[in-house]
Symmetry: C2
Amino acid sequence: MMTFQLHPHLQQDTVLIGKFALSQVLLMNDSQYPWCILVPQRAGLTEIYQLNQKDREQLQEESCFLAQQLATLYQADKMNIAAIGNLVAQLHIHHVVRYQTDKAWPAPVWGKFTAVPYSAEELAIQRQAVQAVLGDLLVARSQD
Amino acid sequence: MMTFQLHPHLQQDTVLIGKFALSQVLLMNDSQYPWCILVPQRAGLTEIYQLNQKDREQLQEESCFLAQQLATLYQADKMNIAAIGNLVAQLHIHHVVRYQTDKAWPAPVWGKFTAVPYSAEELAIQRQAVQAVLGDLLVARSQD
């Protein structure tokens, strides 16, 4: 039985918002788009279909809740939800807030532009804002 | 109450494989990658979270079944599953079979290269192959 460990690349590119029952909620450190990632805490998975039935339903609920809260908080024109994993195979699901005026629109954001990190202050502000709207489903939240 | 109608752009770019209980299953007419699209037959939706609870679970099951069957049929290195909708807002979920040797790898396929349509013969072969592995969940299948 393997223990779940967040992939080092995901750890490096994000900060932890908190944890839902199944997934870690990460904030991408890219100021170009509000962008969160769900990582189901199950070891060794690369595809959504590898989750059992209960986890699939839980992931769907966590994903829908996250997407709706981000869309409302950031007044998205469109949410982009994707499980890609060509570079980091560990199962993770992107939730990207898109605007018709953003830099990459209408192209997808992945592989388009190099990330532009937030300032430390702005990163803390974004994290707190997202934590606040996810409160209902968070079973743990990052304090640092 | 609006009636569901497939967006003309999706109709133009794909052929119908058949119908699951919730979604139409479309085959992208792009010979560069095995690529199917699920379109939940609910009018006026643009985001997964707009589906009710029952439809969300059904979509997750249809998506997982489709992804797993395509991964097996085409011996995928990775499945790319995404709801983007920046160009066609009607809710639709991409299921793209990816190989480390494909033209776009590791970039996502969307907006990368212009589609290269199948020949009529190859399109019929692909459609039948996908229909065959989706049999268990198809409630209707395209005959033309």
